[in-house]
Amino acid sequence: MRGMKMMHRKKRICRFCESGDIFIDFRDEKRLVRFLTEQGKIVPRRTSGNCNQHQRQLAQAIKRARHLALIPFVSDIPR
């Protein structure tokens, strides 16, 4: 059963590995925003498909960008 499930899964590739980036810059917030939820949370690795190294770098970049008010800590969802 488990094997079957695995078969159907799409294999995700780390976007940063694909583009060959070594360092994720916190200055380009447009790129970081892609890896945030609507609320401003960091998207988990299992959803984004990032590799371990890049996910860590990304998390650091996001935190730096948040500190410098480039991206929000929380963005309100209008209800």
Partner: protein, 185 residues
Amino acid sequence: MEKLYCTIFIVDISQNPDEVETISSRIQQLIEDHGGIIKTNNRWGKRRLAYALAGKTHGSYVEIEFNASSRLNIPKILEGEFRLNDRVLRYMTYIIEKEELVQRAKNAGKARSVKEETPQPETPRKEEESSEAAEVAVEETNEISETSEANEISEASETEAQPAEETTEPLTGNEPENEKKEEGE
């Protein structure tokens, strides 16, 4: 050990726009006085803040890179200065790692090659770049006319999404649509 530092701070310019000049020159002076060597002084200009800092919605960003020995303890000196100055809304000093420099050189090379090609960089550089380019194009059109906005975006997203699916589909077989939800669980 000799290190490359980067300090970024946000200056409140709501009362006096010249504040940027005075503060950044003061910081530079401080760095030089304590034995640091300034490499670049980059001003991002006035920007909208993602959230209000001390009730301000806009601020001017200044970025200074400098070389210094870690024994000089310059980040600490700068922090003291920033904390005392209430025109500085936020500050951050960090050590620039080797990876960042390599990445910058890489990006600069890329930008140059794109400029040289001028017409359309149709090089097989994977989907990501092309999608980015599409996004930029969409943004530009937004500025010009907001009416055609919706059409443009839908078109762009369609063109982006389709090739990606086609390339990856054969592996997956059926149920391609619920995938994301499944994976989230």
